[in-house]
Symmetry: C2
């Protein structure tokens, strides 16, 4: 039995694996593999229609918002967003609260002015900055809702009239929130939406068509909206897996239902970490992520032994990010609570042994 | 039994479907699905290493050329190429010989000057222009080697000293050619390389770093080269399917061996079409594509009946492109010659019935 704590690509529901595996041999009794169906056929149209409708339903999106499934990953959005929303002489506000936000800022500077309103770089991004001001004339305010690498999460939506743009790659669909408050949301699929190779962008239509620069066709959100996300050959299989994963989430009771389980998983792990002095979570308590739990061991010498013990017990992906060290357990929607139980039992056992 | 003549996404080898299906349940006995493995693990590194090495071997590429596996599809390359290779005051030469070339020209104009050296638009792109001049000071010469929609193919590499840039989406790996003569080659994977959702770019290193504009990170070929095509989360599964498909091609004897079979398939179909007056291939004989065979029926009234007959005999994807009408049979590497035999038998039978 494998317990997959990977940070993304990450665990997906067992039912999704089974259905996707079968669809590669024979998609819905057509005699065709899902990998060989045309993207402009009713077969694929049904898939993308269900994917978009389910996403809309899960997030309770209003009609002002369009959902796109695009190539390129969230990293492409780092530049595609300012390219679509920011003129050269205009300013966008950015929050620097982790690796991804820093990268987004770098790309935005190629297209306009960036006002970095706050940063938590001073403490290695182990907390979320608070009490900063977002100037009213900012074209938009960009932030990362959950920092996959550093293990922080913003638990409230910033209170501002400036249009909100959020990278939700690692916590979208994990908790209820008012998605309609956002002007633009983007997320790589490979955590809670589905498989790697596709990216979800949710955009409020009135944000578009305001920049003066000419956009390459493939970078223009309006073109993708008009084409219903089939502007060129889309990543057919990745979209199919997203559809299956969101269908599964709906069957679990949707975002509110999974949020309760996610809360339990995170509480179980943080409570265990807090109760065992040999482990030390690295993030400020109020900013802890429920998706990516990051910790170190007080005695660095013990880290390898504990990691080996995790590996011996079937745990995968528990090692910290290559830039951060220590440990990280990602608790995405599809991770069973039993995997967290087994990890916490192992922690207690290990702590007792070393006491 | 299904005979899949889809133009892309299209038929892949049966062995690839079987291995990919199994890998979704359990990749190589790891207990993990291929969909949940991390992209910075040795598991995935082995996959992409084999994909790149096999591509290099199949195309006999020299060390001056780098191979990238990128997001975005060939349509993204329409603008990424001029963005990387063409300054605003410089001129690139383009051949307009079909739908895709026309789109490439449109995007290039956003970044520099385009000199359209020839066009076959006058005859609905049913032939390849010849005898045009490529000015020596052109930064590069762009053309489409095979026109998926119109069914034309360039059977010789243009004789010029200007750096060659080619969209080979629909005939790469189908025939031997001197890939080292090209400055840049690109191809969506969903025909002969593998599954939709990934794009191959082959670039000669000395072409890069010559433009003055600042490039977004994800659009900069040099960044992808440095990162070994793992700059951000790559389309893991699509790359895996490419690796399997290219491994299969190597096992068949490589490009030279598949070319012989492709020649036989194309000859069988064109000979049949030429021998039956009720069918009329639409493309000039010397420019006929061996990958996408396009024809109409002399009596338009019979087209629906013939199409229904194809469908009743398990043929899929035989209808012409939505913009072109008539019929199109795509004969990519993985299409068995038996599928072509069954189609040609049906044609003969149909022609006899209507005689």
């Amino acid at each position: 039995m494998v317990h997959n704590f990977n940070s993304g690509p990450s665990v997906l529901p067992k039912e999704v694996f089974e259905q996707a595996s079968q669809a590669i041999l024979d998609y819905n009794g057509t005699g065709l593999s899902i990998l060989e169906i045309g993207h402009r056929t009713p077969l694929f149209q049904d898939i993308i229609d269900e994917a978009l409708a389910t996403a809309r339903e899960l997030m309770k999106l209003d009609k002002e918002h369009e959902i796109l499934l695009l190539h390129g990953g969230a990293s492409t959005q780092f530049f595609q967003i300012p390219m679509n929303l920011l003129n050269e002489n205009e300013t966008a506000a950015y929050l620097d609260c982790g690796t991804w936000g820093t990268k987004a800022i770098k790309e935005a500077k190629l297209f306009g002015n960036v006002n970095m309103v706050a940063s938590s770089k001073d403490k290695n991004y182990t907390y979320i900055p608070k009490g900063y001001d977002i100037p009213k004339n900012s074209k938009y305010f960009h932030y990362t809702t959950n920092n996959t690498i550093e293990g922080t999460q913003m638990h409230v939506i910033p209170d501002t009239d400036v249009p909100l743009v959020a990278d939700m790659s690692s916590d979208i669909l994990s908790k209820t929130m008012d998605f309609n408050r956002f002007a633009l949301v983007y997320a790589g699929a490979q955590k809670n939406i589905g498989a790697a190779g596709v990216n979800m962008v949710i955009v409020r239509k009135d944000m578009l068509g305001r920049v003066t620069r000419k956009l390459p066709t493939m970078m223009d959100y309006r073109q993708h909206i008009e084409a219903g996300s089939i502007l060129n050959t889309p990543p057919v299989f990745a979209i199919y897996v997203c559809m299956l994963t969101m269908r599964w989430l709906k069957e679990q009771g949707g975002v509110a239902a999974i949020e309760k389980i996610n809360d339990k998983k995170a509480a179980l792990l943080y409570d265990t970490l807090d109760s065992l002095p040999i482990f030390r979570p690295t993030v400020a308590k109020e900013d802890r992520s429920k998706m990516n739990v990051v910790w170190v061991m007080e005695d660095k010498e013990l880290e390898k032994e504990f990691l080996d013990s995790c590996t011996a017990n079937g745990m995968v992906g528990i090692q910290g990010h290559r830039t951060a060290g220590g440990f990280r357990a990602s608790l995405y929607n599809a991770l069973p609570i039993d995997s967290v139980r087994i990890l916490t039992e192992l922690m207690k056992e290990f702590a007792t042994q070393k006491a």
